[in-house]
């Protein structure tokens, strides 16, 4: 599998690996994928009262591009508002990482993870 240098860099040095307290009312957690399909992504965001993402953490079980896609979005999410975050598209992730066509689903999964984390936060905060 010929991966781009960016994928390899994120794979070798993943950013923002870790876990936030899922019971914190300011934390939204998204878990997408399935082990049988070969990838599971857990993405967490911590959001301030004025709706800006302060921190983002991930853990991913999956191939190199799945790890890179989730690592990349944690970088992108920090400092964004929830509205800006929900506008991140899988195509932008795929383009940034130069994912080969068979790995596009990894970027789709990363986009799903963002949406899922935001939805979790909103349901928690009763919005």
């Amino acid at each position: 599998m010929a991966y781009s240098d960016k994928v390899l860099d994120h794979y070798e040095n993943p950013r923002n690996v870790g876990t936030l307290d899922k019971d914190d009312p300011h934390v939204g957690t998204g878990m997408v994928g399935a082990p049988a399909c070969g990838d599971v992504m857990k993405l967490q965001i911590k959001v301030s009262d004025d709706g800006v993402i302060q921190d983002a953490k991930f853990k991913t079980y999956g191939c190199g591009s799945a790890i890179a896609s989730s690592s990349l979005v944690t970088e992108w999410l920090k400092g964004k508002t929830l509205d800006q975050a929900s506008e991140i598209k899988n195509s932008a992730i795929a383009e940034e990482l130069a994912l080969p066509p068979v790995k596009i689903h990894c970027s789709v999964l990363a986009e799903d993870a963002i949406k899922s984390a935001i939805a979790d936060l909103k349901s928690k905060q009763g919005k």
Partner: protein, 407 residues
């Protein structure tokens, strides 16, 4: 990202192929240059010299497996030997019946030869092995029908290294008057083979799995009782009509020397390799959630096939690029399917995906094994630290009971 092109990975893939032993290469070279004659040329010394080389090699191959040299037929490798044995014998004895029997974990070339015979109208049974990879003798016996003409079982499995009970399987075949073929490509130099004693009718060999050259193999065809096969390659009637084509003298000489070395050195070599394998196994078993695939006792010492749970296969292969190994992961196969061998053992897709086959050989050192243990421990830890499934496992959550949204 910088890549150190000069540094080669450590080779732990001896079950895929082996390097030619330098002693073998040395023996081959004169047969490429000065002794270039055609061994079929009977009218001059060029031919006689080549023929002598071929016949000496035939004796060496026969000696390793305690057979008569006249029972050895040269082929291009184990794939051809398996094709020739399975199709050749099934065709010749088709009057007896059109049912053929093998095991689901056989090499692709056996499975595909069976598929071809199915297209010709034969009926095939692909017996599932036990979860440890071994064939249950009772199930094997029950799978034989009155119209079974041939059974084919490999001596040593290429992926998991388990050794089948060839003697017992052969005796069952004898009782039922079924031709018994054995693919021994992975067995030579690793297990003792005595064809005087083993009730085997046809046996396939390969040179390049035993430190000989690629592109050469042999088929053992029993003389007493005499086994007949229909040729698959027609031409000048070489190899008593069973396999036409000018003999590849230098390759044959190489195979002979490789098998001679195997005969002389295998006891000591296997002991040394067993120690290395045990060291590797103990080093890796320090980690949690590590599963050995295939029976550990009835197995060649050269093979260790292990699944690392909660680590995805492709990322694992990326992580261990400093060692050359093969994987049961879909991402490393042309078919994008996880190993059919591991799945036949009842392993889940996830465990099949996260498997690595380490195969140790003549040039593996203790330092190689130490490096491998260190590398695997470090990388598995890193990938598990990244894995949400590992966290769930640590929290006591049964992942198989979680409802995942399949995508």
């Amino acid at each position: 990202m910088t890549q150190d092109i000069a540094r080669k990975p450590i080779y732990l893939d001896y079950s895929s192929t082996t390097p030619i032993d330098p002693r073998v290469a040395e023996k081959m070279i004169p047969f490429i240059t000065e002794h270039f004659g055609n061994p079929a040329s009977r009218s001059h010394s060029f031919g006689w010299t080549a023929e002598k080389g071929v016949e000496e090699a035939r004796e060496e191959v026969a000696k390793l497996v305690n057979a008569d040299p006249r029972e050895i037929v040269w082929t291009s490798g184990a794939t051809e030997s398996n094709n020739l044995a399975i199709k050749g014998a099934s065709h010749f004895y088709s009057a007896k019946g059109k049912h053929i029997l093998t095991v689901a974990t056989e090499h692709k070339c056996v499975i595909d030869s069976f598929r071809e015979l199915e297209r010709e109208g034969y009926t095939a049974t692909y017996l599932e092995p036990e979860p440890n990879g071994l064939v249950d003798l009772e199930k094997f016996k029950k799978a034989i029908r009155p119209d079974t003409v041939l059974a084919s079982v490999m001596f040593v499995n290429n992926e998991i290294g388990v050794i089948q009970d060839i003697e017992a399987l052969g005796n069952i075949c004898r009782e039922q008057k079924v031709i018994f073929h054995v693919d021994a490509a992975q067995a030579t130099g690793k297990v003792n083979i005595d064809l005087e004693k083993l009730p085997v009718d046809l046996m396939s060999f390969s040179a390049h799995k035993t430190y000989g050259p690629k592109g050469i193999g042999a088929l053992y065809v029993r003389r007493k009782p005499r086994i007949r096969i229909e040729a698959q390659m027609h031409g000048g009637g070489h190899e008593r009509g069973m396999r036409s084509g000018t003999l590849a003298t230098h390759q044959i000489v190489g195979m002979g020397e490789a098998f001679r070395i195997a005969r002389v050195e295998m006891q000591l070599e296997n002991e040394r390799i067993r120690k290395l394998r045990d060291k590797l196994l103990h080093g890796l078993q320090d980690m949690e959630e590590v599963y050995v695939n295939g029976d550990l006792k009835q197995r060649i010492p050269h093979n260790l096939n292990i699944s690392f749970n909660y680590v995805e296969g492709e990322s694992l292969i990326m992580a261990v690029k400093d060692i050359a190994v093969s994987s049961g992961s879909a991402c490393t196969s042309a078919s994008l399917e996880p190993s059919y061998v591991l799945r036949a053992l009842g392993r889940s897709d996830e465990l099949a995906h996260s498997s690595i086959r380490f195969s140790i050989g003549r040039y593996t050192t203790e330092a190689d094994v130490d490096f491998t243990i260190q590398l695997l421990k470090e990388k598995i830890q890193k990938l598990r630290d990244l894995s949400p499934l590992w966290d769930m496992f640590k929290d006591g959550i049964d992942i198989s009971k979680v409802e995942w949204a399949a995508h």
